[in-house]
Protein backbone atom coordinates (compact mmCIF):
# COMPACT_ATOMS: atom_id res chain seq x y z
CA UNK A 1 0.00 0.00 0.00
CA UNK A 2 2.72 2.39 0.99
CA UNK A 3 4.96 1.62 -2.00
CA UNK A 4 2.20 2.15 -4.52
CA UNK A 5 1.42 5.59 -3.16
CA UNK A 6 5.07 6.53 -3.09
CA UNK A 7 5.65 5.51 -6.66
CA UNK A 8 2.90 7.92 -7.62
CA UNK A 9 4.64 10.68 -5.73
CA UNK A 10 8.02 10.09 -7.34
CA UNK A 11 6.74 9.47 -10.85
CA UNK A 12 8.37 12.62 -12.13
CA UNK A 13 11.89 11.49 -11.29
CA UNK A 14 12.65 9.39 -14.35
CA UNK A 15 11.37 12.05 -16.70
CA UNK A 16 13.39 14.81 -15.10
CA UNK A 17 16.52 12.71 -14.77
CA UNK A 18 16.71 12.58 -18.54
CA UNK A 19 18.30 15.96 -18.12
CA UNK A 20 16.18 19.05 -18.13
CA UNK A 21 19.22 21.25 -17.45
CA UNK A 22 16.94 23.83 -15.94
CA UNK A 23 19.00 26.93 -16.69
CA UNK A 24 20.88 28.28 -13.70
CA UNK A 25 17.76 28.21 -11.63
CA UNK A 26 17.84 24.76 -10.14
CA UNK A 27 19.48 24.80 -6.74
CA UNK A 28 20.10 21.09 -6.92
CA UNK A 29 22.20 20.98 -10.08
CA UNK A 30 21.93 17.56 -11.61
CA UNK A 31 19.27 15.25 -10.27
CA UNK A 32 20.55 13.16 -7.39
CA UNK A 33 22.41 10.08 -8.49
CA UNK A 34 21.67 6.85 -6.75
CA UNK A 35 25.06 7.06 -5.03
CA UNK A 36 24.27 10.35 -3.38
CA UNK A 37 20.78 9.17 -2.52
CA UNK A 38 22.25 6.24 -0.69
CA UNK A 39 24.67 8.50 1.15
CA UNK A 40 21.86 10.80 2.26
CA UNK A 41 19.64 8.03 3.57
CA UNK A 42 22.47 6.14 5.23
CA UNK A 43 21.13 6.43 8.79
CA UNK A 44 20.11 3.01 9.94
CA UNK A 45 16.44 2.56 10.64
CA UNK A 46 15.44 3.61 14.11
CA UNK A 47 14.91 0.91 16.71
CA UNK A 48 14.03 0.59 20.36
CA UNK A 49 16.82 2.17 22.34
CA UNK A 50 17.72 4.71 19.65
CA UNK A 51 18.07 8.29 20.74
CA UNK A 52 15.93 10.78 18.83
CA UNK A 53 18.09 12.93 16.57
CA UNK A 54 18.90 16.42 17.74
CA UNK A 55 17.06 18.40 15.11
CA UNK A 56 15.24 21.68 14.76
CA UNK A 57 11.83 21.48 13.13
CA UNK A 58 9.25 24.09 12.29
CA UNK A 59 5.80 24.69 13.69
CA UNK A 60 3.36 26.81 11.70
CA UNK A 61 1.54 29.59 13.49
CA UNK A 62 -2.03 30.84 13.28
CA UNK A 63 -2.91 33.57 10.79
CA UNK A 64 0.17 33.05 8.64
CA UNK A 65 2.56 34.01 11.41
CA UNK A 66 6.20 33.14 10.77
CA UNK A 67 6.78 29.46 11.53
CA UNK A 68 8.59 28.89 14.81
CA UNK A 69 11.70 26.77 15.27
CA UNK A 70 11.16 23.82 17.57
CA UNK A 71 14.14 21.92 18.93
CA UNK A 72 12.80 18.39 19.11
CA UNK A 73 14.85 17.30 22.09
CA UNK A 74 13.66 20.31 24.12
CA UNK A 75 10.04 19.50 23.25
CA UNK A 76 10.30 15.89 24.39
CA UNK A 77 12.69 16.37 27.33
CA UNK A 78 11.51 14.56 30.44
CA UNK A 79 8.31 13.46 28.73
CA UNK A 80 6.82 10.33 27.31
CA UNK A 81 5.70 11.25 23.79
CA UNK A 82 4.06 9.59 20.82
CA UNK A 83 5.44 10.64 17.46
CA UNK A 84 3.78 9.51 14.28
CA UNK A 85 4.76 10.46 10.74
CA UNK A 86 2.88 10.43 7.49
CA UNK A 87 4.07 10.64 3.90
CA UNK A 88 1.80 13.58 3.21
CA UNK A 89 -0.48 16.06 4.88
CA UNK A 90 -3.97 15.95 3.37
CA UNK A 91 -3.37 12.63 1.62
CA UNK A 92 -6.07 9.95 1.92
CA UNK A 93 -4.56 7.31 4.21
CA UNK A 94 -2.92 9.90 6.40
CA UNK A 95 -6.11 11.95 6.68
CA UNK A 96 -8.71 9.20 6.87
CA UNK A 97 -6.97 6.71 9.09
CA UNK A 98 -3.62 7.48 10.64
CA UNK A 99 -4.27 10.96 12.04
CA UNK A 100 -7.89 10.34 13.14
CA UNK A 101 -6.79 7.27 15.06
CA UNK A 102 -4.49 9.46 17.14
CA UNK A 103 -7.15 12.13 17.62
CA UNK A 104 -9.51 9.53 19.01
CA UNK A 105 -6.82 8.02 21.19
CA UNK A 106 -5.73 11.15 23.04
CA UNK A 107 -7.45 10.33 26.33
CA UNK A 108 -6.28 6.73 26.26
CA UNK A 109 -2.73 7.79 25.48
CA UNK A 110 -2.73 10.25 28.36
CA UNK A 111 -4.04 7.59 30.71
CA UNK A 112 -0.99 5.51 29.73
CA UNK A 113 1.35 8.36 30.57
CA UNK A 114 1.91 9.68 27.05
CA UNK A 115 2.07 13.40 27.72
CA UNK A 116 2.21 14.62 24.15
CA UNK A 117 1.47 13.46 20.62
CA UNK A 118 3.43 14.89 17.72
CA UNK A 119 2.53 14.53 14.06
CA UNK A 120 5.37 14.87 11.55
CA UNK A 121 5.55 15.15 7.77
CA UNK A 122 8.01 16.69 5.37
CA UNK A 123 5.45 19.20 4.14
CA UNK A 124 6.21 22.83 4.91
CA UNK A 125 5.04 24.48 8.10
CA UNK A 126 2.16 26.37 6.46
CA UNK A 127 0.68 23.17 5.08
CA UNK A 128 1.15 21.37 8.40
CA UNK A 129 -0.52 24.16 10.35
CA UNK A 130 -3.47 24.18 7.95
CA UNK A 131 -3.83 20.42 8.16
CA UNK A 132 -3.67 20.44 11.94
CA UNK A 133 -6.21 23.20 12.16
CA UNK A 134 -8.68 21.82 9.62
CA UNK A 135 -8.45 18.17 10.62
CA UNK A 136 -9.30 18.68 14.27
CA UNK A 137 -5.86 17.40 15.22
CA UNK A 138 -4.64 20.68 16.68
CA UNK A 139 -7.85 21.07 18.70
CA UNK A 140 -7.23 17.60 20.07
CA UNK A 141 -3.87 18.80 21.35
CA UNK A 142 -1.63 17.16 18.76
CA UNK A 143 1.43 19.19 17.81
CA UNK A 144 2.05 19.35 14.06
CA UNK A 145 5.69 19.73 13.11
CA UNK A 146 7.17 20.25 9.69
CA UNK A 147 10.27 18.22 8.89
CA UNK A 148 10.77 20.10 5.63
CA UNK A 149 14.54 19.55 5.55
CA UNK A 150 13.96 15.88 6.41
CA UNK A 151 16.55 16.02 9.18
CA UNK A 152 14.38 14.00 11.56
CA UNK A 153 13.14 11.64 8.88
CA UNK A 154 16.62 10.90 7.56
CA UNK A 155 18.04 10.78 11.06
CA UNK A 156 15.57 7.97 11.81
CA UNK A 157 16.49 6.20 8.57
CA UNK A 158 12.90 6.46 7.36
CA UNK A 159 13.14 8.72 4.34
CA UNK A 160 11.67 8.03 0.93
CA UNK A 161 14.16 9.87 -1.25
CA UNK A 162 13.00 11.58 -4.39
CA UNK A 163 14.36 14.17 -6.73
CA UNK A 164 11.50 16.51 -5.99
CA UNK A 165 10.45 16.08 -2.39
CA UNK A 166 11.72 13.76 0.32
CA UNK A 167 8.88 12.11 2.16
CA UNK A 168 8.70 10.24 5.42
CA UNK A 169 7.72 6.63 5.62
CA UNK A 170 4.69 6.05 7.78
CA UNK A 171 5.64 5.12 11.33
CA UNK A 172 4.80 5.66 14.95
CA UNK A 173 7.03 5.57 17.97
CA UNK A 174 7.01 6.22 21.67
CA UNK A 175 9.99 8.04 23.16
CA UNK A 176 10.75 8.52 26.83
CA UNK A 177 12.97 11.53 27.50
CA UNK A 178 14.20 11.36 23.94
CA UNK A 179 14.89 7.63 23.82
CA UNK A 180 12.76 5.36 21.67
CA UNK A 181 10.92 2.77 23.75
CA UNK A 182 8.50 1.49 21.13
CA UNK A 183 8.71 1.60 17.34
CA UNK A 184 5.97 0.69 14.91
CA UNK A 185 6.91 0.32 11.27
CA UNK A 186 4.44 0.32 8.41
CA UNK A 187 6.55 -2.16 6.48
CA UNK A 188 4.06 -4.98 6.99
CA UNK A 189 0.80 -3.15 7.55
CA UNK A 190 -0.01 0.55 7.64
CA UNK A 191 -2.40 -0.15 10.47
CA UNK A 192 0.49 -1.31 12.66
CA UNK A 193 1.29 2.38 13.01
CA UNK A 194 -2.20 3.51 13.96
CA UNK A 195 -3.10 4.39 17.53
CA UNK A 196 -4.93 1.19 18.54
CA UNK A 197 -1.84 -0.91 17.88
CA UNK A 198 0.36 1.61 19.69
CA UNK A 199 -1.99 1.60 22.71
CA UNK A 200 -2.13 -2.16 22.87
CA UNK A 201 1.58 -2.32 23.49
CA UNK A 202 1.66 0.26 26.27
Amino acid sequence: MLLRRCSALVFGFAAVASGFSPVASSPFGAPRTSASKTALSMSAEVEVGSKLPDVVMKEGQADYGKPADVKLLDLVKGKKVAIFAVPGAFTPGCSKSHLPSFITAQDDLKSKGVDLTVCVATNDAYVMEAWGRTSGGADAGIVFLSDADASLTRGLGLAIESDVMVRSKRYSLIADDGVVTHYFSSAKESSDTWAPNVLSSL
Partner: protein, 146 residues
Protein backbone atom coordinates in the same frame (compact mmCIF):
# COMPACT_ATOMS: atom_id res chain seq x y z
CA UNK B 1 0.18 32.47 -12.41
CA UNK B 2 2.57 30.51 -10.29
CA UNK B 3 3.38 30.85 -6.64
CA UNK B 4 5.71 29.39 -4.00
CA UNK B 5 3.25 27.45 -1.91
CA UNK B 6 -0.30 26.44 -1.26
CA UNK B 7 -1.37 27.63 2.21
CA UNK B 8 1.52 30.12 2.34
CA UNK B 9 0.73 33.68 3.46
CA UNK B 10 0.86 35.97 0.42
CA UNK B 11 -0.29 33.19 -1.87
CA UNK B 12 -3.37 32.59 0.26
CA UNK B 13 -4.26 36.07 1.42
CA UNK B 14 -3.79 37.94 -1.82
CA UNK B 15 -2.40 36.23 -4.89
CA UNK B 16 -5.02 33.54 -5.45
CA UNK B 17 -8.01 35.56 -4.17
CA UNK B 18 -7.09 38.40 -6.55
CA UNK B 19 -7.26 36.17 -9.60
CA UNK B 20 -10.37 34.40 -8.41
CA UNK B 21 -12.15 37.73 -8.09
CA UNK B 22 -10.89 38.91 -11.47
CA UNK B 23 -11.72 35.67 -13.26
CA UNK B 24 -14.87 36.79 -15.06
CA UNK B 25 -13.31 40.05 -16.13
CA UNK B 26 -10.25 38.25 -17.50
CA UNK B 27 -12.46 35.94 -19.49
CA UNK B 28 -14.34 38.90 -20.92
CA UNK B 29 -10.98 40.26 -22.09
CA UNK B 30 -10.35 37.18 -24.19
CA UNK B 31 -8.64 34.87 -21.73
CA UNK B 32 -9.91 31.33 -22.12
CA UNK B 33 -8.72 30.01 -18.79
CA UNK B 34 -6.85 31.03 -15.68
CA UNK B 35 -4.49 28.54 -14.05
CA UNK B 36 -2.75 28.74 -10.72
CA UNK B 37 0.36 26.61 -10.37
CA UNK B 38 2.41 25.62 -7.38
CA UNK B 39 4.92 22.91 -6.61
CA UNK B 40 2.67 20.97 -4.26
CA UNK B 41 1.02 17.60 -4.56
CA UNK B 42 -2.54 17.24 -5.76
CA UNK B 43 -3.95 16.49 -2.31
CA UNK B 44 -2.53 19.64 -0.76
CA UNK B 45 -3.48 21.75 -3.78
CA UNK B 46 -7.12 20.66 -3.80
CA UNK B 47 -7.51 21.14 -0.06
CA UNK B 48 -6.02 24.61 -0.42
CA UNK B 49 -8.58 25.49 -3.07
CA UNK B 50 -11.39 24.24 -0.86
CA UNK B 51 -10.13 26.10 2.20
CA UNK B 52 -9.75 29.25 0.10
CA UNK B 53 -13.46 29.06 -0.68
CA UNK B 54 -13.13 28.22 -4.35
CA UNK B 55 -16.27 26.55 -5.68
CA UNK B 56 -15.66 22.96 -6.59
CA UNK B 57 -16.60 21.59 -9.98
CA UNK B 58 -16.97 17.83 -9.76
CA UNK B 59 -17.96 17.32 -13.40
CA UNK B 60 -15.87 14.57 -14.91
CA UNK B 61 -13.16 16.15 -17.03
CA UNK B 62 -13.45 19.54 -15.33
CA UNK B 63 -10.32 20.84 -13.68
CA UNK B 64 -11.68 20.66 -10.18
CA UNK B 65 -12.86 24.21 -9.59
CA UNK B 66 -15.30 26.50 -11.35
CA UNK B 67 -13.14 29.58 -11.81
CA UNK B 68 -9.39 29.61 -11.32
CA UNK B 69 -8.05 26.14 -11.99
CA UNK B 70 -5.40 24.87 -9.61
CA UNK B 71 -2.62 22.82 -11.15
CA UNK B 72 -0.28 20.96 -8.81
CA UNK B 73 3.18 20.87 -10.38
CA UNK B 74 4.17 18.29 -7.79
CA UNK B 75 7.19 16.94 -9.66
CA UNK B 76 8.26 20.45 -10.60
CA UNK B 77 8.48 19.55 -14.26
CA UNK B 78 6.63 22.53 -15.67
CA UNK B 79 8.31 24.92 -13.28
CA UNK B 80 11.77 23.66 -14.18
CA UNK B 81 10.91 23.79 -17.85
CA UNK B 82 9.94 27.43 -17.43
CA UNK B 83 13.27 28.10 -15.72
CA UNK B 84 11.33 29.24 -12.65
CA UNK B 85 12.50 26.65 -10.15
CA UNK B 86 14.02 28.02 -6.95
CA UNK B 87 14.40 27.02 -3.32
CA UNK B 88 13.56 28.67 -0.03
CA UNK B 89 15.27 26.27 2.37
CA UNK B 90 16.44 28.30 5.31
CA UNK B 91 14.07 31.18 4.89
CA UNK B 92 10.84 29.23 4.84
CA UNK B 93 11.59 25.53 5.05
CA UNK B 94 10.52 25.14 1.43
CA UNK B 95 12.34 22.80 -0.88
CA UNK B 96 12.30 23.25 -4.61
CA UNK B 97 9.44 25.57 -5.53
CA UNK B 98 8.25 27.94 -8.18
CA UNK B 99 9.35 31.54 -8.13
CA UNK B 100 6.34 33.87 -8.19
CA UNK B 101 5.35 34.98 -11.67
CA UNK B 102 2.39 35.38 -13.97
CA UNK B 103 2.16 34.96 -17.71
CA UNK B 104 -0.15 35.12 -20.66
CA UNK B 105 0.20 32.06 -22.85
CA UNK B 106 -1.18 32.32 -26.33
CA UNK B 107 -1.36 29.15 -28.41
CA UNK B 108 1.43 27.61 -26.31
CA UNK B 109 3.72 30.64 -26.61
CA UNK B 110 4.57 32.98 -23.80
CA UNK B 111 3.01 36.23 -24.96
CA UNK B 112 3.83 38.14 -21.82
CA UNK B 113 5.50 37.23 -18.53
CA UNK B 114 5.66 39.14 -15.26
CA UNK B 115 8.49 37.84 -13.07
CA UNK B 116 8.78 39.17 -9.53
CA UNK B 117 11.96 41.08 -8.97
CA UNK B 118 12.80 40.67 -12.63
CA UNK B 119 14.34 37.29 -11.91
CA UNK B 120 14.84 34.50 -9.43
CA UNK B 121 16.68 34.86 -6.14
CA UNK B 122 17.60 31.57 -4.49
CA UNK B 123 16.65 31.21 -0.84
CA UNK B 124 15.26 34.71 -0.99
CA UNK B 125 14.53 36.59 2.20
CA UNK B 126 11.84 38.83 0.72
CA UNK B 127 8.92 37.31 -1.12
CA UNK B 128 8.22 40.03 -3.70
CA UNK B 129 4.71 40.50 -4.91
CA UNK B 130 4.48 43.51 -7.19
CA UNK B 131 3.96 42.54 -10.81
CA UNK B 132 2.36 39.10 -10.89
CA UNK B 133 -0.88 40.16 -9.25
CA UNK B 134 -4.31 40.15 -10.88
CA UNK B 135 -4.58 43.93 -11.22
CA UNK B 136 -1.36 44.18 -13.20
CA UNK B 137 -2.57 41.35 -15.37
CA UNK B 138 -5.91 43.05 -15.97
CA UNK B 139 -4.18 46.29 -16.96
CA UNK B 140 -2.07 44.39 -19.45
CA UNK B 141 -5.09 42.55 -20.87
CA UNK B 142 -7.01 45.78 -21.24
CA UNK B 143 -4.11 47.47 -23.01
CA UNK B 144 -4.03 44.61 -25.48
CA UNK B 145 -7.74 44.70 -25.95
CA UNK B 146 -7.69 48.01 -27.84
Amino acid sequence: FSLPGAFAPTCSSTHLPGYEAAYEEMKSLGVDEVYCLSVNDAFVMRQWGLKQGLTEDKTVGANGFEKVKLIPDGACQFTRGMGMSCNWDTERGFGERSWRYSAVINDMKVEKIFIEGGGITQNSGPDPFEVSDADTMLEYLKSKDD
